[in-house]
Amino acid sequence: MRKRMFFILVILLMLMLNQSCEQSNFPLHLEIPYIETGVDYNEWALIPAGEFYSGQQNNLGKIDYDYEIMITDVTNEQYAKYLNEALKKGTVKIENNKVIGYYPGERFDGHKHEQQIKAGYWIYVPLDEPGVRLKFNGEGFTVDKGFENHPVTMITWFGANAYCEFYGWDLPSEMEWEKAARGTDTRTYPWGDEINEHLANYNRSNKLIRKLFGLDSGITTPVGFFNGRKYKGFQTKNAQSPYGLYDMAGNVWQWTRDDYPDMSDRFMRGGSWANYDYNLRIWARNSSRPDYYAINVGFRCVRKASQKNEVN
């Protein structure tokens, strides 16, 4: 009996190791069905100046200027377009299968665990890592089929910041992001206080989304996916924020711009497809060094209310 149990245990362990090490068979680039959401990802939403409730404890915050924010995360298509333009202008270059660009550096306080961000070339996006949906064919960038309107991922904070700056915009501050997600009341999620798989792409909706794309693993959804439409039997609910933004909870974490003293980490907001619901609460934060990239991290930009939408 003991021998049998030991044998079963060894088999299970071997299975686990085998399954875990199957990465070599995984394709670097995927093709998935393109899903049209009907949401225009070139649109911006106006966030008026004024007070709002910030954080879990509902502290009263105030932003005393109007600003605009993208209604969706930046897509693969938008980022590829940017890279092509930036490549022509010479603001990015490719080295060792990485897109890199210049960053002027920032103040280093010498605090424990703080990473020094010196002036120089920093990574924007790796090109040879699994999960990257952008391809470089020697002349320009293209996007894996089906991923055009998915949020761009595997982008470092440097890459996100460079995109926004390229067009004269900015990454949102944490406060700007929070107000845009929450409006002026004390809701937990951009659409209200309840969450389920029909409202956002997060851990719980993984099964449905995998089925939709015919994949084995969790994945991003096209930006603006949760808008009340039905996709091949998957009924979504309209999950817009009070100002009409999509994907402010779930899908991908979003980089924000703040550079706090004594730390080099940049904060991310919104939670992602890989997270449990509590990470999608408006005040939930994640953080990492600015050269970090991941398959569940993206971004969107803000601009002054008076600026013209130059990307259109």
């Binding site: 995984f26 879990q56 665990h113 890592e129 699994p130 206080d193 003293p261 730390m263 990492s288």
Partner: protein, 504 residues
């Protein structure tokens, strides 16, 4: 009526009954609340639990709820340790009764009303009763400290094999006493910060603040509080296991001073964390080394004793390595607690040291949420290890014998260790596999985690069901335990003149 009175006497007046009630309460809470997170939540069982019990889980209160849940379970664990201590450390019977009664009412209040408040609609009367429960537990701690006062003449050691001072003061008793004092002060450390709740102190989970360079004094106090309380719970069970094994001799004489010094140093380290945070960590590390060395002495002594006792039983005077290992593994219930202490080094201390050494190189390169998983994972594992040690001691107390003892012991050890190892591997997954490929690894490690935990919970449920059905028997095990309520593990040597009352 007699039926109920007898059983009430067993469950609430005998040590074995009190431990059984507390284990049953923790098991019940674990079984129900375990469905609210992890895979069970994913499978939709959370929704069923919430609907059936009428729980009100507003997302904004999540952190507060978790804090109440931690307290509810921790208070019951502390009560179990208090029952053990009052039973195995010599003290007057009336002191034992008062301490046990106070801590029992305390933890039941804290558990029932704390969870009632947090999960069933925020009734503030319940919150008040939760605090009342905590206060009673604190008061029982004061009574325990008084009862443990080590400098009473009647508690001096007569058997010189136990660690003692020149004047015969029992150093193990001093360790229990220091532990109790430290727990009282450390509880206050958290309570003072908690009392400012809404007045500058806000609810938070420590793991969410790990990368924030500046923390408020309240936040530091709470972080210190939660760390030291878990440490002290671990130290308490180590001392209890020492008594269970009748820890004595040269190893005992080395271990007890180390334990006392370790408790004092760690306590100082934590208590000064608010004003002297940079040095506090170093002091805590130093204290931990003392305590871990003391635990090592216990493990060496205990394993030697297990081998020796088994070989003597078999009539073998000299044995090779294989026979010695077989002898060591003969009784899983006794091998288990010490093994779990060793295993802890791989899943808790080892991970902690590795993290500290490679923090900037590895863990701060990962996003906050990943670092957070490692941290919460490793202290959940520590709490789980403590729980398994308590269960093994309880299995010994209730007298599991023969094959049932072996099955119970080995399933508990193997099941929990598979679960803890899987949890550790899961939390460190980015060391082995890239994020893009981590899903199969996550799936399999979670599967093993669930299998391990399920095995432990099934045998625990079987044990508790047996005890539950036993209560309906006229002459069940409970009756024997009521008649003979003493735990086996108490020092056999008492100074002449000290009555049995003094011993129990």
């Amino acid at each position: 009526m007699k039926f109920f009175i007898e059983r009430f006497h067993f469950l609430f007046k005998s040590t074995k009954g009190l431990v059984l009630v507390a284990i049953a309460m923790i098991s019940l809470v674990t079984a129900i609340w375990g469905t609210l997170s992890g895979p069970l939540a994913e499978w939709g069982i959370k929704d069923v639990t919430v609907r059936l019990l009428g729980m009100k889980l507003t997302p904004v209160q999540r952190e507060g709820r978790i804090i109440m849940l931690y307290h509810a379970i921790a208070m019951a664990v502390m009560a179990i340790e208090v029952y053990f201590i009052t039973s195995i450390v010599q003290m007057k019977k009336h002191r034992q009764s008062i301490i046990n009664a106070t801590v029992t009412v305390g933890y039941l209040c804290a558990m029932i009303f704390g969870l009632g408040f947090a999960y069933f609609g925020y009734n503030w009367t319940f919150h008040g009763l939760f605090l009342f429960g905590l206060s009673l537990i604190f008061f029982s701690g004061i009574l325990l400290a008084e009862a443990l006062w080590p400098w009473r003449k009647e508690y001096r050691v007569s058997n010189l094999e136990y660690a003692h001072t020149k004047k015969g003061v029992d150093l193990e008793r001093v360790a229990f006493f220091a532990l109790t004092l430290s727990a009282l002060g450390s509880a206050m450390f958290g309570a003072v910060a908690g009392s400012y709740w809404g007045q500058g102190h806000q609810t938070f989970l420590a793991e969410n603040l790990i990368r924030i360079p500046y923390k408020t004094p309240f936040e530091l106090a709470v972080i210190g509080h939660l760390h030291i309380m878990l440490t002290l719970i671990a130290v308490a069970i180590t001392l209890v296991v020492g008594r269970w094994f009748d820890f004595k001799g040269v190893f005992h004489k080395i271990a007890m001073p180390l334990m006392i010094i370790g408790i004092i140093i760690i306590t100082i380290g934590v208590w000064i964390i608010v004003p002297y945070r940079p040095i506090a960590h170093t002091i805590i590390y130093v204290g931990s080394v003392f305590i871990m060395l003391a635990a090592l002495m216990l493990v060496i002594y205990g394993w030697k004793k297990l081998i020796h006792d088994r070989l003597t039983e078999q009539g073998i005077a000299k044995a090779g390595l294989w026979r010695s290992v077989k002898a060591l593994l003969h009784d899983p219930i006794k091998f288990g607690p010490l093994w779990q202490m060793v295993f802890m080094n791989f899943t808790v201390s080892g991970v902690g040291i590795f993290m500290a050494a490679k923090l900037d190189e590895i863990f701060r390169v990962w996003p906050l949420r990943e670092e957070r998983i490692v941290l919460t994972g490793h202290w959940h594992v520590l709490a789980g290890i403590i729980a398994t040690i308590i269960l093994m001691y309880y299995a010994d107390i209730v007298g599991l014998k023969g094959k049932i003892r072996k099955w119970f012991g080995w399933i508990l050890i193997i099941g929990s260790d598979i679960a803890f190892a899987s949890a550790t591997l899961f939390s460190l997954k980015r060391l082995f596999v890239k994020q893009y490929f981590q899903e199969p690894f996550t799936k399999w490690s979670m599967l093993f985690l669930e299998i391990g935990l399920a095995a432990v919970l099934i045998i625990l449920a079987m044990l508790l069901l047996w005890r539950l059905f036993d209560l309906f028997k006229k002459e069940g095990v409970w009756k024997k335990e009521l008649i003979s309520p003493k735990l086996e593990a108490s020092k056999t040597t008492v100074l002449p003149g000290v009555s049995e009352e003094g011993k129990q």
